[in-house]
Amino acid sequence: MTREAIFEELTEIFRDIFDDEEIELTDETTAEDIEDWDSLEQINLLVAIEKKFSVKFQLSDVNGLANVGDMVSLVQRLVG
């Protein structure tokens, strides 16, 4: 799966969860850039991503996620 395709799916998930159609994601987007992105929503994002791409994250996968770029790389690694 291309990074572009993953970005597209992630954008939809982010827009749903934060109920904000204006969200645009880049590799550098972090929790600092989205007002409601707290630890609780981080969990929701991960659960929604797992569901969307039919993948299962391990403890070590999600501990070091610094930004959206990391998320995309993680998904790409798992779905191949």
């Binding site: 749903d16 969860i17 109920d19 630890s39 609780l40 969990i43 929701n44 659960v47 929604a48 403890l59």
Partner: protein
């Protein structure tokens, strides 16, 4: 259908929760309730998703969230914050992760007993403390452990955590059975339905201290919402069933009574038989059954009378509408005849077109059902009839409504309405609220919508406070008996007394005793109580809702004076005349 209706897509709910909340908050007539959540693990989404399900039931929660994992301290050593919040409900979200004293293989049986007793004592202390706030208390029982030291034998030996949890859950069940206002949220069953490996996952626990997997939180929250709406009297009351391919297989008009599929001879027959048996059991809980089917009535009834394998009989139904009128008209008529709101019905029909028409034209709930083997699940899991309080009156409800049908027939033979009422040979026990009746009183207050002037809801704690305070309240319950049977407690009255003025806070009457002059009997009693206290001034109000239009002008009929009208709300005063003449002439009163 809302995406919050069973069967729901949990992932979709979690993902769309913000948007859903915005939409639900636009609903009209939401009732506000204060809910404290005290937890042994992360609450987070539990509260957010519970809010959605409650809003879907018309309940707007205001939350108080305890500190993370400090349910015990929050309850036992409340600094006044919880008390000040005055919760209507307290939810104690504890799970197997909060069992601190689990048995070990090195324990003796006596050691395990001691651990179990002290574990239970700790939770019991919390439950009792929570009940002391006068709230309705809901607590989880405990799910099974995710590993078993003894394998299958874990269920057998006292040192096994499976065995230990089973015993603890039974102790909690016994406590709940004996306590008023305490309900168990059965996560042992929920986790079984979900599968333990789905219900709990270690990643969520290690990372975020969620004791329930995030994607299972909607199921947990839905279960809680069902208990809360039931305690607030928002259960459904009645099922309306189609017949052909719903209660039996085939079309009785075409296939003939011998051609329909029912009974345990074939697999399809078994599914219909089991569904009928399920409905029959529902009647034991006071749920009323009705038929609405496009059929010839005489032929349709043969499906029950001539097929002995059918668990249901014709007289299990209150209304039997088998004709060729549109179904939504028949259903509207059933609602009128039984005299309960359309939104108290669940309609089961195999035909998607009929379901759609009924759903779009009436407030009736119409579950999506695809095949007979799913019918039971569609009713059961949706929790339409979630039981919290179950009173003797509930058990007798079907009988009472059947008697009402007989009364309607008797009425037809009288020219003068008063003669008819006298012929009913009515008598009523009336008296101030008492502790013995407070459960039924609370239930009736919270579920009555039509004859209800103020639509004020009371918790059992508030009712108990009125029972205890005879000085500042005039309260009354009334039972009604007639020659066809006992209707039980069907009318309630609360007035608060201040400076020789009585203000009617609440007056409700069950719809099944409308038009019997029973309301006059209550007013007479109230006047008498006022006189005994030297009160001559009465204040009253009518606050309009979507459902109480029927009594809009009732206070005028009683002779009260309208002093103010504002947005449909009406405010009255009344000076009790020295020569007040009793308005009830048809019911024999017995004051207790």
């Amino acid at each position: 259908m809302s995406i919050l209706d069973y069967p729901f897509d949990s992932a979709l709910i979690l993902q769309k929760k913000k948007k859903l909340k915005k939409e639900l908050l636009l609903k009209e007539g939401l009732i506000e309730k204060k809910i404290a959540i005290l937890s042994g693990s992360t609450i987070g989404e539990v509260q957010n998703i519970l809010e959605l399900f409650l809003l879907n039931y018309g309940i707007k929660p205001v939350f108080y969230q305890g500190q993370y994992a400090r349910y015990y301290e929050d309850l036992m050593f409340d600094d006044g914050a919880l008390k000040d919040f005055a919760p209507d409900f307290i939810y104690i979200h504890t799970t197997a992760k909060n069992l601190e004293n689990l048995p070990l293989p090195t324990d003796s049986a006596e050691d395990v007993n001691a651990k179990l007793n002290s574990e239970f004592a700790k939770f019991k202390a919390c439950y009792e403390k929570a009940l002391g706030f006068g709230s309705i208390v809901i607590a989880n029982n405990f799910e099974k452990p995710f590993y078993r030291m003894y394998g299958n034998k874990d269920a057998v030996v006292p040192q096994g955590v499976v065995n230990y949890t089973t015993r603890l859950n039974l102790m909690i069940a016994d406590f709940a059975a004996a306590a008023d206002n305490f309900y168990v949220n059965d996560i042992d069953y929920l986790s079984t339905l979900a599968g333990l490996d789905n219900w709990f996952n270690l990643e969520s626990w290690y990372l975020y201290k969620y004791a329930v997997s995030v994607d299972r939180i909607p199921e947990l929250a839905f279960s809680l919402a069902k208990i809360i709406k039931s305690a607030l009297g928002k259960n459904k009351k009645s099922v309306i069933c189609d017949l052909d391919n719903t209660l039996w297989g085939g079309v009785i008009g075409d296939d003939g009574v011998e051609g329909i599929t029912i009974g345990n001879e074939q697999p399809a027959g078994m599914s219909y038989t089991e569904f009928q048996a399920y409905l029959k059991k529902l009647t034991g809980l006071g749920i009323m059954l009705n038929v609405c089917s496009k059929n010839e009535e005489a032929i349709a009834k043969k499906g029950f009378t001539d097929r002995k394998e059918a668990p249901l009989n014709v007289d299990d139904f209150i209304c039997f509408k088998a004709n060729w009128e549109p179904k939504h008209q028949n259903i509207a008529n059933i609602a009128k005849e039984i005299n309960i709101g359309e939104d108290s019905f669940v309609f089961i029909d195999d035909n998607p077109v009929e379901r759609d028409i009924v759903r779009n034209s009436l407030a009736v709930t119409v579950p999506e059902v695809s095949c007979p083997e799913d019918y039971i699940k569609a009713i059961d899991r949706a929790g339409f009839f979630e039981i919290t309080a179950f009173t003797k009156d509930d058990a007798k409800r079907n009988e009472m409504y059947k008697q009402n049908a007989q009364r309607a027939q008797a009425q037809a033979s009288f020219g003068d309405y008063k003669d008819y009422l006298l012929s009913l040979d009515m008598s009523s026990e009336i008296g101030a609220f008492s502790a013995a009746h407070s459960e039924r009183i609370t239930q009736l207050i919270n579920k009555t919508n039509q004859f209800n002037f103020t639509t004020r809801r009371y918790t059992q704690g508030e009712v108990d406070a009125i029972v205890a305070d005879k000085e500042n309240y005039i309260s009354a319950y009334a039972k009604l008996v007639d020659k066809f049977g006992d209707n039980g407690i069907t009318q309630l009255f609360i007035a608060s007394v201040e400076d020789k003025t009585a203000t009617i806070d609440l007056w409700v009457m069950s719809c099944r005793v409308f038009k019997r002059h029973f309301e006059f009997a209550m007013f007479d009693y109230f006047v008498k109580q006022c006189a005994a206290r030297g009160i001559a001034t009465v204040k009253a109000s009518y606050l309009p809702t979507a459902k109480n239009v029927i009594i809009k002008d009732f206070y005028e009929e009683l002779g009260l004076t309208l002093v103010k009208e504002e947005d449909g709300a009406k405010y009255y005063t009344y000076t009790i005349p020295a020569d007040y003449k009793n308005k009830n002439e048809v019911i024999k009163m017995e004051e207790v």
